[in-house]
Amino acid sequence: MDLSAALLQILVAIAAPLVVGLSMGVDRKITARMQNRKGPPVLQPFYDIGKLLLKRPLIINELQVLFAGATLLFYAAALALFVAGGDLLVIFFVAGAGSACLVMGALSSSSPYSYIGGQRELLAVFSYEPVLLLVVLSIGLEGSFLVGDIGAGLLTDLPLVLLSLVPVLVILLEKSPYDIPTAHQEVITGPYVEYSGPYLAIMEVGRWVHLAFIYGLFTLFFWDPDPVVSLAGKVAIAFAALLATIVIDNITARLTRERMVTFMLTAGIGMVALNLLVLFIVRGSL
């Protein structure tokens, strides 16, 4: 690999979480407009992070700090592998390790809110990870497991697989109806309850990095030989997914934990299975 390509990859890996942060601001603005409010400035997430870094740190226990750092590191490693064109399966499991650290950080505190939040986060992981794994496997089946080798054709061949990623994004963006781990009226911010100041900022940036990987999966579904068209299509797919989750968030109420698990393990997996089945029938082989 030559130097300019490596530089470009580093630039993309740094810019991706920042773009996700900006999308969070756009999300809050659009949500506010949908509720007939003015809403915060688009750069609000960055103000929040800056403010959190300026707060005096309060440590509950050292383990929590360790897990906060580990969460960010695992997610960052997953994103770096993704940008470098690595193996999707490896990326999936590295990101999974990040989610595990997030849960362990929540469980390391004695606060009941944090504890319940951790348990609920585990349930959320149990709901979306199987779907995510099947999506990754289908992409591997159709194109390649190596992100760098994936070309055109995913969108036309696997439309239902793309659709099954939307509920995954709903869970990860902590939106209704599946904002179970961070249900404000029930467990406040769930697994993030005991983090404060700079550590909360680390967790938030970790979330952005994780979301960058998920949006990355969305962008894989579009590819064009022309880099400009390719980039435009990728951004359009990611933004459409975000817009869909915002609409779903604003028109639904929170469902129970059982409903989340049931939906993801039946409808989520079902959509992927149906897509592959139709593909198999049409082509006669996979």
């Binding site: 809403g39 800056g50 911010t189 005991e194 909360l200």
Partner: protein
Amino acid sequence: MSIVEALRKRSPWILHFDTGSCNGCDLEVWALLTPRYDVERFGGLNRANPKHADILLITGPVTKRCEDRLRNLYEQTAEPKLVVACGDCASTGAPFHNCYNVNGGVDKVIPVDVYIPGCAARPEALIDGFVLALSMWDKKVEEAERRKEARK
């Protein structure tokens, strides 16, 4: 205005605590989150968690039962923080003055930065007080540093 102050001003996260109010002021505090008053346009979010909060909106005359909880919440909030006493009860104890079971105002228990009058305090007055509190960050940080020096 320095970047540090600008960041603090633009992201005030709220903790709202009722220390025995009649719920009149609480309703008005909740009204701040509605489309009509929308305090989120200043970046304000109700976090309901002292560890995430920057501004404490306290209502009620602080009953003796609530005293420890209020102090506890104040201590769990990371510096720098601001306390806003919302309504007459929180400011002075008002109708509960000299009652055997109340402290008579938030400032009898924790330091208060802004007092908002009214029974109940109107949402417009609450936003006024909220924005006034935001202009006090620099002073607040200076005070905290002076206290640290004095302790040395």
